[in-house]
């Protein structure tokens, strides 16, 4: 089976080693070389390689964030000088984890593992990717949304609210809406619980956007946002909201 590969590393020389090693291996084809995470996401969308050989430390979008965005479409082998990400790498189901500098044999072994996994047709259990891709410490500062081959980086404080839509969440941010394949519960765990509150089964609200709470004609509570938008508040949601506001 011919394996199509995209190499992702922000350093020319680091890509050159991988390219050189792969040149000596049978049945592999380099379909893209990417100097950053955005190019990697684009390459995955447009070229659909079987494998990403992915650096961890990259500007703007690191290897884990790239994996969060494209992990369900492609197998990933991490390549990095840092050994402290190894555990996290396997949590997000990376096939292998190579430490720079590495040998051609070591890369060959990783490629064999990729073939083995693809041969078994193993479906990647992706639903927990995003959560696992977050660094353990503290809530996230930004949310990444993939839109085809493009990546939107949303700053968390600019998010107004998030709405659940089946297997997706719809994130409203700076007047635009972004769809992300993730459940609301998963996204909620990555957000700062002092800022974001689940006011309804389907809504997580940024407290900074809340103008006031009103009762509608059927005696249900409604959150009025600073731009006048109205969101429903459930009984449990109101309890959480008042708990947060009274502290």
């Amino acid at each position: 089976m011919r394996l199509t590969i995209a190499i992702v590393d922000d350093e020319d020389l680091a890509r050159a080693v991988v390219r050189e090693y792969l040149a000596g291996m049978p049945d592999v084809e380099i379909v893209a070389e990417c100097a950053n995470g955005f190019e990697a996401v684009k390459a995955v969308s447009e070229l659909q390689p079987d494998l990403l050989i992915l650096d961890v430390q990259m500007p703007k979008l690191d290897g884990f964030e790239v994996l969060e965005l494209v992990g369900r479409d492609v197998a990933v082998v991490f390549v990095t000088a840092y050994d402290q990400y190894a555990i996290r790498a396997f949590e997000v189901h990376a096939v292998d984890y190579l430490l720079k500098p590495f040998s051609a044999d070591r890369l060959g072994a990783a490629i064999d593992r990729v073939r083995e996994r693809l041969g078994r047709g193993e479906a990647l259990p992706v639903h927990d990717l995003a959560a696992a891709a977050q660094p353990a410490q503290g809530p996230t500062h930004r949310v990444l949304v993939r839109d085809g081959s493009r990546v939107h980086v949303l700053s968390v404080e600019k998010i107004e609210y998030v709405q659940a839509q089946d297997d997706y969440v719809c994130i409203r941010c700076e007047g635009k809406e972004y769809l992300k394949e993730q459940t609301l519960a998963e996204l909620e765990t990555t957000l700062d619980p002092a800022k974001f509150v689940r006011i309804h089964r389907s809504f997580v609200l940024n407290l900074d956007r809340l103008a006031r709470v009103e009762l509608d004609e059927r005696e249900n509570r409604v959150a009025i946002l600073s731009d006048g938008r109205r969101l429903p508040i459930s009984r449990a949601g109101y309890a959480r909201l008042s708990a947060l506001l009274s502290t």
């Binding site: 020319d12 080693v17 500007p59 703007k60 500098p101």
Partner: protein
């Protein structure tokens, strides 16, 4: 532990010395009217017993250390101890003379023995004082040896601490990444790979060498930072651009070693490496009279406002500056519109003006 009793070899030497002294004394006694045999019969047993009695001088020397006791006190207590010891010796001599008087062989010498007893007392005082002096010398000897050992241990510890500090200073990932670059160059650009090896070797050797010194000329520190930047240049290629301006009279200023290098490293790891297109690191060093100002500018990711610029490296430099110059030096940082700036102000002592600095080996 008694310095003589505690060691067999020393005790043997000590008793040997006493035996020799004993024979010499016997020679003196023969001049005073005793036969050789008579003199030895009197002195050998007395000397052997007194040799052990004189070991008690150790307690005197311990109670009155020369370093902390006043001279009159040492003299008075030495004289008193010597008199007591010698008094004991005199008593012993009397008993021994009485014992010898009962034998037919030495009975005729009893009167001549009796004539020597005042001399025996004076001798006892002298011998005790001599023993005391030996003990003082031994104690001084031990103290010096211990001090030397401590000094050696201290040097080892310091060396250890320096190496640990150095390990903390050099980011191992810098090495791993550099090795990876070399690994890449070996196939495509062998001379480049060799150049990189040489640069890395020089950088490591310089770092080791400089970090053992208290203060170094700024020129040396700049050379180290340049090597570091040349290595990173290979990794980052066109993403890393460098501009530097250094006042000529600034390079003689003495600075703590590894002052610039961590700041330059920060500019790369927290600045250039996090930007898609990299950018320009600007290094500006100026000297106004005896004040040195070092300014490093680098672009940083404006969106990553939460990311701490600096961290360990900055703290390290800050605390070392404070330790060396107190409030005369300061380190400030500013972040504005995607630019990070670190500013150092410190007093400039130049080479020669500072006697504390070791000359370059």
């Amino acid at each position: 532990m008694h310095p003589i009793l505690g060691r067999v070899d020393r005790l043997a030497a000590y008793l040997g010395a006493w035996l020799i002294a004993c024979v010499l004394l016997a020679a003196v006694f023969t001049r005073l009217g005793l036969g050789w045999l008579e003199a030895l019969a009197l002195l050998v047993p007395l000397c052997l017993v007194y040799a052990f009695a004189c070991l008690s001088a150790w307690y005197v020397s311990r109670a009155m250390p020369l370093t902390t006791s006043s001279v009159p006190r040492v003299l008075a207590s030495s004289a008193l101890a010597a008199a007591i010891a010698s008094g004991f010796w005199l008593g012993l001599a009397r008993v021994w003379v009485a014992a010898l008087a009962t034998t037919t062989m030495f009975a005729p010498a009893t009167v001549r023995y009796g004539q020597q007893l005042p001399f025996v007392f004076a001798l006892g005082v002298l011998l005790f004082l001599l023993s005391l002096a030996v003990h003082y010398v031994l104690i001084a000897f031990e103290t010096t040896r211990q001090a030397e050992r401590r000094q050696l241990e201290l040097e080892l510890l310091t060396r250890d601490a320096e190496l640990r500090a150095l390990r903390a200073q050099i980011d191992p990932h810098f090495l791993f990444n550099s090795l990876n670059s070399i690994s890449a160059l070996t196939a495509s650009d062998a001379p480049g790979a060799r150049r990189m090896c040489l640069l890395l070797g020089e950088f490591l050797r310089n770092t080791l060498d400089l970090s053992t010194r208290q203060r170094i000329p700024l020129a040396d520190e700049l050379a180290l930072a340049d090597r570091f930047l040349s290595i990173e240049q290979v990794r980052f290629g066109s993403r890393l651009r460098i501009e530097r301006r250094v006042d000529e009279d600034a390079s003689a200023c003495l600075v703590p070693p590894l002052l610039l290098q961590p700041l330059v490293e920060n500019a790369i790891t927290h600045g250039i490496a996090r930007l898609l297109d990299g950018g320009l690191i600007r290094l500006d060093i100026s000297r106004r009279n005896d004040q040195l100002a070092i300014v490093i500018d680098n672009p940083c990711d404006a969106d990553a406002a939460w990311a701490r610029p600096g961290g360990m490296g900055l703290e390290n430099v800050r605390s070392r500056l404070a330790a060396m110059f107190g409030r005369e030096a300061r380190l400030d940082t500013h972040t504005r519109a995607g630019q990070f700036r670190v500013e150092l102000h410190l007093p400039c002592d130049s080479v020669g003006a500072d006697p504390r600095v070791r000359p370059t080996e």
